[in-house]
């Protein structure tokens, strides 16, 4: 990590365990509930959705996976620096036949979940929308809570929490606080 004040609070094995735990929770809750689609929020949510898909497959549960880009649905355009490049959204065409699980790495304010729900609904009317996160750090600004969470990591609002995944960040995996 470039930031000297950053410390690892979950190690690589902990991340792998958390993904396995989240897959277990999803499997218990959604098995035999019809078609399930994991929609990752770019960038790390997409990686996590793919990992969860693989874990569920090993557990004998077939799910599809893709992405939901929230950029066009954010509520802070013109308020923060450095607009991000838009990333693709990949959802099933027959959305009304699917349960959508929005997947993200960390939940804090609830604004991402709000934007992601709105983005999904712009494409159609899914049967249900669920929300799954690897870690819940607290600090809600909207009344939105995840349905499925692997880790509860309460940290102060001003702290920065970063999930590092091999596919996106290289190097050592983990969750880092600064």
């Amino acid at each position: 990590m470039s930031n000297a004040d950053s410390r690892q609070i979950v190690d690589a094995a902990g991340v792998a365990e958390a993904v396995a735990k989240l897959a277990g929770i999803l499997s218990a809750a959604l098995r035999n509930r019809g078609s399930v689609f994991l929609a990752g929020v770019p960038t790390r949510g997409v990686t996590l959705a793919a990992r969860l898909q693989k874990a569920l497959e090993l557990a004998g549960m077939q799910v599809a996976c893709g992405a939901v880009d929230i950029s066009m649905h954010r509520d802070d355009l013109g308020l923060r620096s450095g607009v991000q490049p838009l990333r693709g959204t990949e959802l099933p065409l027959d959305l009304e036949n699917w349960s959508i699980v929005i997947v993200d790495d960390v939940q804090q304010t609830g604004r991402t979940a709000r934007a992601a729900m709105e983005a999904v609904l712009a494409f159609g009317r899914p049967k249900r929308i669920f929300y799954a996160v690897l870690a819940d750090r607290g600090g809600r600004e909207l009344p939105v809570r995840p349905d499925f969470t692997a880790l509860e990591l309460p940290v102060p609002t001003q702290a920065r929490l970063r999930v590092r995944l091999a596919e996106n960040d290289g190097g050592e995996e983990g969750i880092f606080q600064s």
Partner: protein
Amino acid sequence: MTWTRKDLLTLSELSAEEISFILDTAAEFKGVGKRRLKKVPSLRGKTLVNLFVEASTRTRTSFELAAVRLSADVVNITATTSSLAKGESLKDTAKNLEALAADLIVLRHSAAGAPQFLAERLHAGVINAGDGSHEHPTQGLLDVFTMREHLGSIAGLKVGIVGDIRFSRVARSNIWALQKLGAEVVLIGPPTLVPREFERVGARISHDLDEVLGELDVVNLLRIQHERQKAGYFPGTGEYAALFGLSAARAEKLKPGALVMHPGPIHRGVELDGSVADGPHSVILDQVTNGLAVRMAVLYLCASVPPEDIS
């Protein structure tokens, strides 16, 4: 890359990276037109003013629809219905618009540099929708977007622009964008409309369409304006069509997969034959669709810059 421009005034001042960033953003916005809800809330609560001091239907409509699809509120002002016709200066008109809290102003004006003039004086973002013979940046962007969509990459392409280059803001914006992205530009037309000075910006000049047609990956035909004929730049539309019109017979010489483009409105039988406009090489209607996506991208990016980051 970080986008830091509140205005889009010219393509000549943009880097290749900035142009590509707009095109990539536009590719995502094109997808919005295929959704169940063809509208996103990005510019909710923002006000866009279409200030068209020079007549235009398609560009204004395209900007209006782009803004609506981004959930902005839109006000249209045209020269004949505004106080500009009563002698109010452009600056005063703009100041009034800003007093009404306009966030973005899309300006079409007969004077080159008018958008720059406003942009330097206003907090609102200013988008150039065509200024005199200077530039028409969103047209240049939608043209390269269409080429990239069909041909994969701009680098290495040979693009012919045919017609009234001398007075064309479309040609100028195309030349800048194409050269920055690595294409070779060939300007084609009579010597009166394709002056040699354009060689200085690195373009190749030809006064013989038949000689170069078979080499081109893209043929972009510009609209011929009757005012130019009256002013003696070419003898008549018949002669122009015979020498520089893309007739069905001439189109036989096109490379397989070559694109035929036109910014519209087309004059069938003058710049090109109807059968060519409707034929397999033509991407003229794709240009219209892509114009909307490109304008959504430009409005989105210019509105995304917080005041403290404006460069």
